[in-house]
């Protein structure tokens, strides 16, 4: 099946590049050979996007830290894009005039924006929820460090350095959580029709993730400082 499809596409491409255009009937200013060629190219472009969607779907399914609502929203979007692109492919292969074909080919890009919008959307939402999960983990560890500090203090030890580090760790974790607040919802809401105007939202979201990351790096260093100060 796959081999036959590849053969057909190859044959179409070969025909389009070698057949004399003037010998074929024109449809809305486009020869039928040219239409066959463009349809084959369109099919390949759609297949590439479907492969990318498969990769993104696997990423979302494997992201165990994703909130159920974000996971559901992303999978729903990816599934909708898959069926939409498959329908578009069918429509393109059946197009009979050049004007409609051109319009349908353009919509492979404009109606979906798989590479420049959907892929960054998925990665940013996954990253955002990773930051949130990291903050939860960090707060849990901070509680354990606090218990150790309290015990050491009760035993008469000097815990000043450990407590200072822990206090900063908690602040850094809170700042990281603050940096990504609302990022996931903003990014999920973006649509292909808003592109490229909404690209700035993606860029801002990435900046927020990077800001949060800096706080998490500091929190991790604080955790090590506090633990080492207690040992």
């Amino acid at each position: 099946m796959k081999t036959a499809r590849i053969f057909l596409i190859g044959a179409a491409l070969a025909l389009a590049s070698t057949a004399p255009a003037a010998a074929l009937p024109a449809t809305s200013g486009m020869t039928s050979a040219r239409m066959t060629y463009l349809k084959a190219r369109g099919h390949l472009a759609i297949q590439r996007r479907l492969n990318e969607i498969d990769r993104l779907t696997a990423l979302v399914n494997g992201a165990t830290h994703l909130t159920s609502s974000n996971k559901s929203a992303l999978l729903s979007k990816l599934s909708s894009d898959t069926s939409g692109l498959q329908s578009l492919d069918t429509k393109i292969q059946g197009d009979t005039d050049g004007t409609t074909l051109r319009s349908d080919l353009q919509s492979i890009v404009t109606a979906y924006r798989i590479y420049v919008l959907v892929a960054p959307q998925v990665h940013i939402v996954v990253a955002s929820d990773r930051v949130a999960a990291y903050v939860t983990l960090g707060n849990s560890i901070a509680d354990k460090i606090q218990a150790k500090i309290d015990a050491a203090k009760a035993a008469g030890k000097d815990v000043k350095k450990a407590q200072e580090a822990l206090d900063d760790m908690k602040k850094q974790l809170a700042d990281a959580a603050s940096a990504i607040a609302g990022v996931d919802a903003e990014v999920i809401a973006l649509t292909p029709s808003g592109y490229p105007g909404n690209r700035s939202t993606l860029l801002d979201a990435r900046s927020s993730i990077l800001t949060a990351r800096t706080h998490l790096v500091n929190a991790r260093a604080d955790a090590h400082t506090a633990v080492n100060a207690l040992s």
Partner: protein, 88 residues
């Protein structure tokens, strides 16, 4: 001091031998673990166990996972066009 330890060790071996010989199980009479000994490696209580070492490896791993996703986003954000679709 040394003699006392040897005597205790000998007594312990004798008790174990007696249990093995009579087929008795120690499960019913086994003493609970001392307070400082952890029964499970995963604390089930929200109260952290003071005696346990603090594992920071999760914090080390988590950052690289975030980096992976940022790299994935960068690929799409580095350009505004999807130039692989030909319409002419």
């Amino acid at each position: 001091m040394k003699t006392g330890r040897s005597a205790r060790r000998l007594a312990a071996v004798a008790v174990i031998g007696l249990i093995a010989a009579t087929g008795c199980s120690t499960s019913k009479t086994a003493a609970p673990p001392p307070a400082s000994q952890s029964v499970s490696s995963t604390p089930t209580s929200s109260t952290p166990a003071v005696g346990q070492p603090i594992d920071l490896s999760g914090m080390d791993r988590g950052l690289s996972q975030i980096d992976t996703e940022v790299s994935g986003a960068n690929a799409g954000l580095s350009s505004t066009s999807e130039g692989d679709v030909q319409t002419q």
